[in-house]
């Protein structure tokens, strides 16, 4: 403890540091503590205001203690400045410490110490010099660094080793603040490598590392030092016991680690440098004692270096084996870092890591949460076609007992793995069901549509799937994703369920009432979300065509929900009611089996997965189903893009003739809108606005199609297509379809109409919104189809240039 006597002031006695600490500790409540501290701070402040007395340094020490506890201590800043300028070493020391803790470069007071630092850097006493270096390295601003850099460079070359090592680290700080000064220090850094003192060597290596990381010219220049570094490293590894540097049998492990890291940076992407260090790395890897942590630290760094540079394959295998050995180590720290490293290389050295798969999978059962997380990441990365079954068993076991924060990651990883490597469809479906039952709440939203897609594609397993799902539904209706899929399947394949003759599951007699009971439970349960209830209602409706006896029950359920508070359910129920009453003749067609859904290549599906009925009327698309869950939207996108190769249309069951009638029930709310549009169309002046030029893209027999483009924003624009008929025969069913390149988003609004009377009395306009975020070359193919004089005309035109862009 600093041996200074304390002085009493007239106002209040100031106590030595130890007594103050005791007083603070003995305070029993926060309030009491604050009281003690406030009293002390007041005393300290009073002391600072007084002239120089012997007690300054320990007052500041007290202030620093108070600061560490979190109380404001900014009034000590000026005192720090004063003390730094003092000639007494003890005061300087505490002053600098105070500066490091209380000041940073944003404070004004820090400017005031620049001069002191400058003077102290050339002080005769090396400890004063070191204080200045330390403080400069801690909080030197960019101007201070620029100012003092030459001084630091001088110290790097000509001083004792104690100062040199500190100057090296100070140089690191300077380079971080002012990048250009790296050039200044490079030669000095190079020459420091020939020092014997380990502290200086350490500082030099750190400085060189920093320089290489900052600029590639430095990196090139320092590559030439690789032989020297290898030499130094060899000296450390081979040399006998040296008491000065020994830590548990390894000679200066900290320096070894630093050297290895520098070698890594120098050898990266460079063949010659990597070759030069190959032997050394092999030597370190084999000779280092791995029984203690220190040895393992060096080995770890070696492994990281080997894997990062262009090493030969034998060496890489050696490195991976070291990691494998780490995995079996009793020390959990070592297991953890082994996993982290394996994670980094699983992409590049996949086969080598596969050899240790067994150990990694065992680590899934480790106690430590970090180890478990790493093991999960690695296991998912190691899944391949050959080991999928056994790995999945382990992963599913893990899922049932894993900590909650890892569940969603595990579930999603399992799905991806299952998708990629499923050996059979049935296995795939089983796995997904298993996951939904265990962790249904943690899966992503796309899982439901993805699963539905998978099920529809596996027609041979429909019976099996629906039975399994029904059973799952009976036992638990809390997992929303599972319930949604189950409802959908029951609605779709209810007839298979009721038939009950499935070979792959135990026979179970299911009667219609049971099924309807199950669906009603879902509808009424408070655990079901709105989306789930939507699914259940639709399923109930679909069953009306698949069952024979209880249609009335379905009718009553549907009509009850016609007055439901939830808007979505109410709308559905009302529409279904309408289907029962006015359009009963179409009900069978509408509620038929869904077509097989084409797989969307990216796996991402646009549109709303909650299955809202599609309300928009687009005469250019043939809408076959009344209310569908998500796959509808997938149909849309696929169709649009397939416009260009439309020789085989997507399978669409009901004939096109039904479409125009079908659109009616949905269109009841839209047709009014359409009339409105027509009204507006009539009010608007017919000649196009002069602002944007019109281009005629199609013309035949008097029917013309023109486009007008307008840029809305950087990537969005609107294209207005106008159809005109100047011939002397009426044109009806005038429809337009458009297709654009894949990365461009297209949205066609409803057209104003579909008939062009003869003589150009009216025209049809349709607005298309385009969004081109990737700024690709914009092209559009437009298909025009209409009937004139009793025959149908269909033409496709391509627009390559858009005027007004």
């Amino acid at each position: 403890m600093l041996q200074h006597s304390y002085t009493h002031t007239a106002m209040s006695p100031s106590v030595p540091l130890q007594e103050m600490i005791r007083a603070i500790r003995s305070a029993r409540t926060q309030c009491e503590e604050r009281g003690v501290i406030q009293r002390e701070c007041a005393a300290i402040r009073a002391q600072f205001r007084q002239a120089d007395n012997g007690g300054r340094s320990h007052n500041l020490a007290k202030l620093l203690y108070v600061h560490m506890l979190g109380y404001p201590a900014h009034f000590g800043q000026m005192e720090c400045v004063r003390m730094i300028a003092s000639s007494r070493y003890s005061e300087k020391r505490v002053g600098y410490l105070g500066a490091m803790m209380l000041l940073d470069e944003k404070q004004d007071a820090s400017l005031l110490i620049t001069n002191s630092i400058k003077n102290d850097l050339s002080h005769s006493n090396q400890y004063v010099q070191s204080l200045a270096l330390c403080t400069l390295a801690c909080m030197g601003s960019a101007e201070m660094c620029r100012d003092l850099a030459p001084e630091i460079d001088r110290l790097l070359r000509a001083s004792n080793s104690y100062i040199k090592k500190k100057a090296a680290l100070c140089a690191v700080h300077i380079v971080r603040k002012v990048h250009e000064l790296g050039e200044l220090f490079a030669p000095a850094a190079r020459s420091l490598l020939s020092e014997k003192n380990h502290g200086v060597l350490h500082g030099a290596v750190v400085l060189i590392t920093e320089l290489c990381e900052r600029s590639s010219e430095s990196l090139e220049r320092f590559r030439k030092t690789v032989p020297d570094l290898v030499q130094i490293m060899k000296g450390l590894v081979i040399s006998g016991y040296s008491p000065e540097h020994d830590v548990a049998g390894i000679s200066d492990p900290f320096l070894q680690v630093r050297l290895l890291r520098l070698l890594r940076i120098l050898g990266r992407n460079n063949e010659t440098a990597s070759d030069a260090m190959n032997d050394l790395l092999a030597q370190v890897a084999t000779n280092t004692d791995s029984t203690k942590t220190v040895g393992n630290a060096v080995l770890y760094e070696t492994v990281l270096t080997v894997l990062d540079i262009k090493s030969e394959s034998g060496l890489r295998v050696l490195a991976v084996n070291i990691l494998g050995r780490f995995l079996l180590n009793n020390d959990r720290n070592i297991r953890y870092i082994a996993m982290t490293s394996l994670q980094k290389i699983v992409g590049t050295d996949h086969n080598a890591v596969q050899r240790h798969r067994g150990t990694i999978v065992d680590c899934l059962k480790d106690q430590d949460a970090s180890v478990k997380r790493r093991a999960l990441d690695l296991s998912l990365a190691l899944v391949s076609a050959s080991n999928i079954r056994s790995m999945m068993k382990e992963l599913l076991l893990f899922l049932s007992s894993c900590p909650p924060e890892l569940r969603s990651q595990a579930a999603n990883g399992i799905f991806t793995a299952a998708e990629r490597y499923a050996p059979s469809k049935r296995w795939h479906i089983d796995t997904i069901l298993h996951v939904l039952i265990t962790a249904g709440g943690d899966v992503r939203d796309e899982t439901v549509p993805n699963l539905i897609q998978l099920i529809t594609n596996t027609s041979e397993l429909h019976c099996y799937t629906v039975h399994k799902l029904y059973r799952a539904l009976l036992s638990d209706i809390s997992q929303q994703s599972l319930v949604q899929v189950a409802c959908w399947c029951i609605g779709e394949y209810g007839d298979l369920l009721l038939r009950g003759d499935c070979q792959e599951v135990e026979p179970m007699q299911v009667c219609e009432d049971d099924v309807l009971d199950a669906l009603e439970t879902v509808l009424q349960s408070h655990m079901s979300s709105t989306a789930t209830r939507g699914f259940a209602l639709t399923a109930t409706m679909k069953l009306s065509t698949r069952i024979t006896d209880n249609v009335d029950r379905i009718r009553s359920i549907v009509s009850i929900y016609g007055s439901c508070i939830d808007l979505e359910l109410q709308q559905r129920a009302v529409e279904y009611n309408a289907l029962f009453k006015k359009y009963d003749h179409m009900r069978a067609a509408v509620l038929e089996r869904m077509p097989v859904i084409e797989r969307n290549s990216s796996g991402l599906i646009n549109g709303d997965p909650t299955g809202e009925p599609v309300k928009e009327v687009q005469p250019s698309k043939v809408k076959t189903e009344v209310s569908l869950p998500l796959p509808q939207a997938a149909d849309q996108t696929c169709d649009l893009l397939d416009l260009l190769s439309s020789s085989e249309q997507q399978p669409q069951s009901p004939p096109a003739a039904g479409s125009s009638i079908l659109t009616q029930p949905l269109g009841t709310d839209c047709s009014a809108g359409r009339d409105l549009l027509d009204l507006l169309g009539g009010l608007e002046p017919t000649p196009p606005p002069t602002a944007a030029p019109t281009v005629t893209v199609y013309e035949k027999d008097g029917v013309t199609l023109t486009i007008v483009c307008e840029k809305q924003s950087d990537s969005a624009m609107t294209v207005t297509l106008t159809g005109f008929n100047s011939s002397d025969c009426d044109v009806s069913s005038f429809t337009l379809q458009a297709a654009v390149p894949k990365s461009v988003q297209l949205h066609m609004k409803a057209p104003s109409g579909d008939s062009l009377p003869a003589g150009g009395a009216a025209k049809v306009t349709q607005v298309v919104l385009l969004n081109n975020p990737n700024k690709v070359n914009l092209k559009m193919r437009i298909r025009v189809s209409y009937s004139c004089r009793g025959s149908t005309v269909q033409e496709t035109v391509q627009v390559d240039s858009f005027p007004g862009l």
Partner: protein
Amino acid sequence: MIKFVLMVNRRGQTRLSRYYTPVELSRRAALEADVVRCCLSRRKEQCSFVEYKDFKLVYRQYAALFIVVGITDKENELSIFELIQNFVEVLDKYFSRVVSSCAIMFSLDRVHFILDEIVQNGLVVETNRSRILTPLNAIDKMSDS
């Protein structure tokens, strides 16, 4: 690089704190409390490395004292683990008795000076025990005389 060094007792009270990256005073208390809670709640079987926010923590327990070092991703965790051990051994040698939470508290400035000799600017500057203590011993001799 090293972001901070903390020494806390089992009750979560900070005995020493040193930051090598600027952290506002108001945020320090919260950071320290959070970090300490993280480390104190870990059981014996768990490893000493914790992933915390966007950096890592390495901690070691010595009787009632926890030493926590926050490091960036690129640092070798095992070597920092050893560094903590080295630091404690230096303290033991200097105070010539087993380091305890109280000893740290009452000679806080000395501990800071020792730490400054080991870590500067977030990087390790010296690891040799005797060399670390030489300046301190010299100063003590100077101030005694």
